[in-house]
Amino acid sequence: MTWVKFLRLPHREKIAVMRVLGVVFLVQTGLRVLPADRLARLLGVPLQLSDADAAPPAGAGVISDYRRPELRMLGPVLARLPFRRRSSCLTESLSTGFFLRHMQPRLRLGVGRAGEAVLAHAWVEAANHSFFADAAFRPLGQRSNNTEP
């Protein structure tokens, strides 16, 4: 978002951009000094490790709160940060969860394979919806899929 575009935004959206910048700064600073699960708990987006075998809920993101200006601004703001962290999905998920914290969001971490490499991904679940979930990633938990009962 260039300065010109920012200045042309309605007042409410300018406020939203400033709030998003503040939350993203808080999340990125927090990730440097705290374990991710502790930061997630502090932000009101606790890490969900149970029911690891459950598929992510379908119908991603079509809830009224998704129209909140902060949530609409989050992606564009993150895309324009000068120094993006490698774990941008975690920043995006924690920030989204923070803005949805009244909906009891849960942070999920998952892993998936891309050829020989193992990749990690983070997403948020709230009110039976997933944000940033990717079917290629299976959620981390404390029970393996192939564990016999």
């Binding site: 374990p35 991710a36 699960d37 890490l47 490790l49 690891a52 971490l109 998952g110 892993v111 998936g112 394979r113 193992v118 990690a120 299976r138 959620p139 981390l140 938990g141 404390q142 029970r143 393996s144 899929n145 192939n146 564990t147």
Partner: protein, 96 residues
């Protein structure tokens, strides 16, 4: 004398099996580890709590190893987990 049980440190550990390889995240250190197929078999027993003897038996039964080799492999695996503070309590020393 009862045989001590060994189990994983459940606090701040999360994992998933992908293509028979276990991927583990230690949330305390934000470190990912991967465990091969035979380690995954042991891991699943450790997740429920088990004994060193049962771990070795599992390797013997599943992979046809002799007892000595299986015990040695279990010791090495437990040492590796212990060195990364992934076990609930110290691994049992091998019998003399």
């Amino acid at each position: 004398m009862t045989t001590p049980t060994v189990s994983l440190r459940h606090n701040a550990l999360a994992w998933q099996v992908i293509d028979s390889e276990l991927v583990l995240l230690d949330l305390r250190t934000a470190t990912y580890f991967s465990v091969n197929a035979s380690g995954t078999v042991l891991w699943e027993l450790l997740a429920r709590g088990t004994t060193r003897a049962k771990l070795a038996e599992e390797l013997v039964g599943r992979y046809g190893l002799d007892d000595r080799r299986a015990s040695s492999d279990v010791d090495r695996f437990l040492e590796a987990l212990e060195s990364r503070s992934l076990l609930q309590q110290p691994a049992i020393s091998p019998a003399p």
